[in-house]
């Protein structure tokens, strides 16, 4: 069999010679990693293997989910940390958990069932749309950290979620919107029956008595629609009148208010047309449009809130006796000693007291290779300790750190953000001006010809030209497009992105983590002896497989070597097929054969030597690789004639070699966040509209100030929250598709606005001549709204 088998749990390819197996659904299955195997075993042991029968998507790989250390989780059991998340009612505690790793509906079933089998759980209910789990349990029997551990066991990561006031308000508003929509729908149908019976088109020979009863009935049924369902339109119109803006709300309020008041007049006097059904229809159509928009926004908000890790930052503090204890970073004070294990980020600015390691500063500076640091060196909060444990003396905390300086820069930069005008707003203004002008002229003319009809004709004109279709035109298109983009892996978090993407003429790119993968990958193998590069790679992979070091990820997973020993800061040693091997720094490897270490033949990247007892075998070069789809993005930029700038904090020659490779003329390296922001301001001063694509903390000020900013899915929390959109898929070609989608959306919006204006323009002369009756107005309006909505739905394909 040539193609590798897919992991039964997560669907990733199973590496050759893997021994991760378990019996699921009465058959032995292969897994890609011990994580998937353990999760599958836990699921089967719980009698929940029905999950595998019912799922429609593969599960997420448990090793791809964020790591939570058990002593870190135990912070959640502290009363002061819990106060924000957990409510206590007698014996039972109640909390809302945000779940990561849900891929399909079967996950919901699995989570609920697994929790309900635990005796301490009283109730567990998962909301699939926003992926929140409401759980009530006896926390004297099962501490919160163990509850999270149980979820981890079946392959999901949970964070306590603080149901803050904003979220509660959102839920209240949501329910209110749904009530308004439902009430409008139910009442409109009744009003339609009563009001239509009075229309001459249906030619019913109603008795005068009956006619009066039907008029009063429809008035009675319309009143709640106007005063309950339409309050938001009236409030909006008032607000816009105060700020002297002409908007869609004013138009809508005029039509609804006018039709309702005229309806009262004609009900009381018994003469004139009834437009009650038009009131109901406006209310239902417009509220439905807004409800859909709200649901899309809410889904985005739910996805956004998952981007940020909620666990308060913690670290290991050393006491006088040298024992470490996990404390919150907020409890640290200057002069404390902190232990930072490899793979963890530094909690504070400080000086190294003990240990030797390399520090990955790429998120802060854009420098793509970890830099070696030893005793006495200064280190910065927010950077990542790569190799060995470090003991650090805290020198600056919180607002005094370099990281906070960048955050302050971010706040200033946000004020610079220019606002892109939205098409629909401009159209609505012109539309309203024209309609009001025409209505005034028509009213005056009819006043001269036939004063008693003038009012009814102006009313018919206002109702017939109510911008129902016009106000559905943009939101429906934007909602559908946002949904389609989310499926592509681009999450829009601010409203102006889709329209703004069409106005861009300058592209600013970050290097590390944006154009490149941001992690070290194997770029070259130089064999030094008789073994070919494939064999050398297999040997290196066997050695690295036992290591947790970030470099090890570049080699993939295979059967680890025997007798593995890790020498922090130097390398690894082990035995493969009876051959003693070492990999790592040249001097360390050469020591095994007793020869002198060979010199490193190149300068770019990280050079690892592989050797055995007879001498060195091969050089392995690790480098930060260009994303394979980066040229596509650059092609698009050239096609659209954009100015492209590469701004990197990295001062290595890699910036320029990458720029030449991609054909970017303007590449600048070694920039501080301040410098980057200055470049952006200069572009703005030239009147350019800038799209910024970045991922690191050093990009954050520029992300905040750019016209449109997109953060990579692998970016820091701060970058993701300050950007307008997040590229969850981490694939630059999703971005290329997004540009195409933005163009299509713009075309659909223009088409929709065209349709709506065409309908209004066509019906205007007939209304001015006094030929439009309520029935024609209703027909025209529903048809034009339908056309607009169906047209917008084309974007979902």
């Amino acid at each position: 069999m040539n193609s590798p088998t897919a992991c039964f749990h997560c669907g990733l390819p199973v590496p050759a010679g893997s021994r991760f197996q378990a019996r699921v659904l009465d058959e032995p299955r292969a897994f890609c990693c011990p994580g998937c195997q353990a999760v599958a075993e836990a699921i089967v042991a719980g009698g929940l293997d029905g999950y595998y029968r019912h799922r429609t998507e593969n599960a997420s790989n448990p090793e791809a989910l964020p790591r939570q250390l058990s002593d870190e989780l135990q912070l959640y059991d502290r009363a002061d940390v819990q106060a924000n998340y957990v409510q206590h009612q007698g014996e039972l505690a109640e909390a809302c958990l945000l779940i990561e790793g849900i891929s399909c509906a079967a996950c919901g079933w699995l989570i609920e069932r697994h929790l309900r089998t635990l005796p301490a759980i009283a109730e567990a209910q998962l909301n699939l749309s926003n992926q929140r789990l409401q759980v009530r349990w006896a926390d004297s029997q099962l501490p919160l950290s163990q509850l999270l551990g149980e979820l981890r066991k079946i392959g999901y990561v949970a964070h306590p979620y603080q149901a803050d006031q904003a979220a509660e308000l959102l839920q209240r508003e949501n329910r209110r919107a749904l009530r308004q929509l439902g009430l409008a729908g139910l009442l409109w149908m009744q009003v339609m029956m009563a009001a239509m019976a009075t229309w001459p088109e249906f030619n019913l020979d109603l008795s005068a008595d009956m006619d009066r009863i039907l008029r009063w009935t429809s008035l009675f049924l319309t009143t709640p629609i106007v005063f309950y369902c339409c309050t938001d339109f009236f409030k909006g119109a008032l607000r816009d009148l105060r700020t002297r803006h002409l908007t869609m709300d004013i138009s809508v309020s005029l039509a609804i208010g006018g039709a309702y008041l005229a309806g009262i007049w004609s009900t009381v006097t018994g003469v004139g047309e009834l437009y009650y059904d038009a009131v109901g229809m406006f209310a239902l159509f417009l509220l439905a449009g807004r409800y859909l928009e709200r649901r899309a926004r809410e889904r985005t908000a739910a996805a956004t809130s998952q981007l940020v890790n909620l666990l308060p930052a913690s670290c290991l503090r050393l006491d006088a006796a040298g024992n470490n204890q996990r404390v919150l970073v907020s409890e640290l004070s200057v002069g404390d000693q902190v232990l930072v294990p490899p793979g963890h980020s530094l909690p504070a600015d400080g000086r190294i007291l003990a240990g030797q390691s390399s520090i990955d500063e790429s998120l802060l500076t854009g420098e793509y290779l970890p830099l070696p640091r030893a005793v006495g060196d200064s280190v910065t909060a927010g950077t990542l300790n790569v190799e060995g444990p470090l003991t650090i003396e805290v020198q600056a905390l919180g607002a005094a750190t370099r990281l906070s300086a960048i955050v302050r820069l971010l706040e200033r930069a946000q004020a610079d953000k220019p606002r892109l005008a939205e098409l629909a707003d401009r159209v609505a203004q012109w539309f309203l001006l024209i309609v009001l002008g025409v209505a005034a002229v028509v009213g005056l003319v009819w006043w001269q010809i036939e004063p008693q009809r003038a009012f009814w004709i102006v009313l018919a004109l206002l109702v017939a030209t109510c911008p129902c279709a016009l106000s559905l035109a943009t939101p429906t298109a934007l909602t559908t497009a946002t949904g389609s983009l989310h499926k592509l892996g681009l999450l829009l978090t601010r409203g102006h992105v889709l329209e703004g993407l069409n106005q861009i003429d300058t592209l600013i790119l970050d290097k590390t983590g944006t154009l490149t993968e941001g992690s070290l990958t194997l770029s070259r193998i130089l064999p030094l002896r008789d073994l070919d590069s494939d064999t050398c790679l297999a040997l290196a992979a066997a050695l690295e497989s036992g290591s947790e070091h970030p470099i090890a990820r570049a080699f993939g997973r295979v059967q680890p070597a025997a007798e593995l020993i890790s020498h922090p800061g130097l390398g690894l040693q082990g035995v493969v097929d009876g051959r003693h091997l070492r990999i790592g720094q040249a001097a360390f490897v050469a020591e095994l054969s007793g020869q002198s270490a060979p010199g490193i033949p190149g300068d770019q990247g990280q050079w690892l030597l592989l050797g055995d007892q007879q001498g060195p075998l091969a050089w392995l070069v690790l480098d930060d690789r260009l994303r394979s789809d980066a040229p596509k993005l650059l092609d698009l930029a050239r096609q659209r004639d954009w100015r492209v700038l590469l701004l990197s904090g990295d001062s290595s020659p890699m910036v320029h070699s990458l720029a030449t490779q991609l054909g970017i003329d303007d590449a600048r390296g070694g920039l501080t966040p301040d410098d980057k922001l200055a470049v952006l301001r200069q572009q703005h001063a030239e009147g350019r509209r800038v799209l910024m694509l970045g991922d690191g903390v050093n990009d954050v000020p520029v992300l905040a100030a750019a016209d449109i900013s997109i953060a990579m899915g692998s970016a820091t929390d701060l970058a993701k929250t300050s950007a307008d959109a997040v590229l969850l898929s981490n694939r630059l070609d999703s971005l290329v598709q997004a540009f195409a989608m933005a163009r299509r959306t713009r075309r659909i919006i223009i088409e929709n606005l065209g349709w709506a204006c065409l309908y209004n323009g066509l019906i205007l002369p007939f209304a001015a001549l006094g030929w439009v009756t309520p029935s024609w107005a209703a027909l025209g309006m529903s048809l034009s709204s339908l056309v607009v909505v169906v047209n917008a739905l084309r974007l979902s394909r």
Binding site: L48, H54, G108, W109, N127, S129, R179, L183, L221
Partner: protein, 68 residues
């Protein structure tokens, strides 16, 4: 025509009832998750109580065959 004098008040009462029911459903959170319940029905076969119910019903049928 006189029937309308009765039908209209009845229609209004029915609508009022429907609205009350709808408001109650919204306020008790039945519309908060519009995705999950659509799928949860598929997992009934895995529910031991559901299975027990189905078996019980099958037992009864065995005891009283329709053509006995």
């Amino acid at each position: 025509m006189p029937a309308l004098y009765v039908m209209i008040p009845i229609a209004i009462i029915v609508v009022a009832l429907a609205i009350w029911l709808f408001f109650w459903a919204v306020d008790s959170g039945q519309y908060d998750d519009l995705d999950g319940p659509a799928h949860s029905i598929l997992f009934d076969d895995e529910d031991p109580r559901h299975k027990a119910g189905v078996e019980q019903a099958a037992d009864k049928q065995d005891k009283n065959p329709p053509h006995a």
